[in-house]
């Protein structure tokens, strides 16, 4: 289905990959120089953002570098990514396949990591910002399935403390050196890591969300012929 190219009447250039972003390229070059071979992937969207992927061992070092050397001292957030396609099917997309396109639900696509690449199912990612340059860096690091531990940022960016606690309970990442990895949101005895893709959202499993098709005709009955699923 072609959805990306439908809205091109706006006068702004839709996806101008051509223009180069020299400031971000210079920033990436500096990061490259500081991190060396620990920087394993990068992506620049011109005029918008910079993505950088580092090795897991270099994760705390990367924070030191962005904070001390590059003076990207504003801590935005830290969280996790789970690239596993949902084992519970494609939900509304499969409904759309059947109802709109009249075909059987497509298989979910294979696992694919986002910008700056990746090899593992789980990634930890964080964003720091410079209040003088007005640019941000999104850092990512791969975490292998058998050892979801990574060094803590809380010594460098104090605000990472809570974000790591949240990430710990939501994804099950272990942050080595974190002063107090305790539950933040979830009750103490909670089992499972809710933001992982294989953690079922029970409400949705029990009763499917009406999604793109209207639930039922409006009481007046006028809406039937107009909106109802065909």
């Amino acid at each position: 289905m072609s959805s990306a190219d439908t809205a091109t009447e706006a006068d702004t250039p839709a996806e101008p990959e051509a223009p180069r972003d020299e400031r971000r390229e210079a920033l990436l070059a500096r990061l490259q120089a500081e991190l060396g071979s620990d920087l394993v992937g990068s992506h620049i969207r011109a005029g918008d953002d910079l993505w950088v992927r580092v090795t897991r061992d270099a994760w705390p070092t990367a924070a030191e570098i962005t904070h001390r050397r590059l003076k990207y001292s504003f801590f935005d957030f830290l969280s996790g990514l789970d690239w596993l396609p949902s084992p519970f099917g494609r939900d509304m997309d499969s409904q759309e396949d059947i109802l709109v396109h009249g075909q059987e639900a497509k298989e979910p696509p294979a696992m694919a990591q986002g910008y700056a690449g990746g090899e593992t199912r789980f990634q930890v990612f964080a964003r720091v910002y410079s209040l003088t340059e007005h640019m941000g860096i999104t850092l990512k690091a791969d975490l292998p399935d058998d050892d979801l531990s990574v060094g803590t940022w809380s010594g460098t960016y104090a605000g990472a403390n809570w974000h790591e606690r949240e990430c710990w309970e939501m994804f099950g990442f272990h942050f080595v050196g974190h002063p107090q990895l305790a539950h933040l949101y979830l009750p103490g005895g909670f089992e499972g890591n809710p933001l992982r893709k294989d953690f079922p959202l029970l409400a949705r499993r029990v009763k499917p969300w009406p999604g793109i098709v209207d639930v039922e005709p409006m009481p007046g009955g006028a809406g039937d012929d107009e909106e109802g699923g065909e």
Partner: protein, 391 residues
């Protein structure tokens, strides 16, 4: 020098005082006080575990989560337009402002831009929700400090703004009005004139609050020099909005990194900062911001262009594959969505970066060594909405 050592330097005096009093002078045992989950100062269900020595706070540990609704998970099974209904409820006092960065993030990945008129109306509504939010802060500040009259004035004058929001969107609290590619509806008739009158009232309200509260000597005594947050600490905790500007950092996303889709550059306004880093400066900046917001609205109302309010968007919205982070300067601070799309109807992953979460995470640091009444002023001046912490 690490952030930890900075922190130790700054609170060392207070800590030593607290420690020595506990351990040496009287050999007293501290008292643990549970502030919340139901406590007037936590406006919502935030629990703060405070360890006290007499009236002095040895440690304060916020425990959020009583209202966690799992929006990040819920977003993954909703279509893009449906998500606005959810994110409306994050910061429920300035709901429209929550929708905007979400819509902008989706628009960025889709490569759509709303028509100019929609951008103007969006910005106006954004500022109106800022006023609705911050005017309640000003009232709440008074209530927390025992001056309840200001609270009633705030509720009275906030009504003017809410009426205007309601007139456009049909909702006072949860407008759910922003759409990918524009807005749901155009402005109703006579709205511009009405809004200008409401802005006059808001300015009068600001003057009133400034006289009644900020000019009050007791208020100044209670807030000046209390809850000091130096700029570098504020940055490393990711404080944003008035909290970081109250620490003297001149940074406002509206001016410095305004995402396309909002027209703050079309208005002439000022970003206020205050060098004092204390509770007073944070509160004072919010007052000034309310004034600036009325100015922005006034100017944008004058120059609002005509034209459509909706760009051409497909009926079934699918966002192309990609990642984007869009943040705006919300009433509480930087509010952003990190959106990962796989080209489906639903977002693949949404990380909600809410301002209050970072703003409150500094509480254990800043509340060390202060007195119990100061905890209240510090919490009030940091200004959090529970939905914004717990998401």
């Amino acid at each position: 020098m690490t952030a930890l050592s900075d922190r130790e330097q700054l609170t060392s005096l207070a800590n030593q005082a607290a420690d020595s009093r506990v351990n040496l002078e009287f050999e007293t045992e501290g008292m643990t006080l549970n502030m919340g989950p139901q406590h007037p100062a936590t406006h919502g269900t935030l629990r703060i575990l405070v360890k006290l020595d007499g009236e002095q706070v040895i440690s304060a540990d916020p425990m959020p989560g009583y209202m966690h609704r799992g929006y990040e998970k819920l977003c993954e099974v909703r279509t893009y337009p449906q998500v606005t209904t959810l994110v409306n409820r994050i910061d429920w006092l300035g709901s429209f402002a929550n929708e905007v960065p979400w819509i902008l993030a989706a628009e960025k990945l889709m490569g759509i831009e709303a028509p100019p008129r929609a951008q103007y109306i969006r910005t106006i509504l954004f500022e109106l929700s800022r006023m609705a939010n911050v005017s309640l802060f000003l009232g709440d500040l008074g209530i927390q400090l025992g001056g309840i009259t200001v609270g009633f004035y705030a509720f009275r004058d906030r009504e003017h703004v809410l009426n205007q929001i309601e007139a456009v969107t049909g909702g006072r609290f949860h407008p759910n009005f922003d759409r990918i590619g524009g807005l749901k509806d155009d402005l109703p008739k006579g709205w511009i004139a009405e809004t200008k009158k409401a802005m006059e009232k808001m300015r009068a309200f600001c003057d009133e609050v400034e006289d009644l509260l900020f000019g009050n000597e007791i208020f100044q005594k209670r807030t000046r020099g209390i809850g000091l947050i130096p700029p570098h600490v504020a940055q490393s905790y990711g404080l944003s909005g008035a909290n970081i500007r109250g620490s003297g950092v001149d940074w406002d996303l509206r001016r410095d990194a305004c995402p396309p889709g909002l027209v703050y550059d079309k208005a002439d306004w000022k970003v206020w900062t205050h060098p004092d880093c204390d509770s007073f400066s944070r509160s004072w900046i919010r007052l000034q911001e309310t004034r600036e917001a009325t100015k922005i609205v006034d100017q944008l109302l004058d120059s609002i262009p005509s034209g459509p309010i909706m760009a051409k968007v497909p009926r079934i919205i699918k966002v192309p594959e990609g990642e984007a982070y869009v943040a705006t300067e919300n009433p509480l601070g930087e509010m952003g969505y990190y959106l990962v799309s796989k080209g489906d109807l639903n977002p693949f992953r949404v990380k909600i970066r809410s301002a209050s979460f970072n703003n409150v995470s500094i509480v254990p640091w800043v509340c060390k060594g202060v007195y119990v009444p100061d905890v209240i002023t510090i919490l009030a001046s940091l200004y959090f909405i529970l939905g914004d912490i717990d998401r």
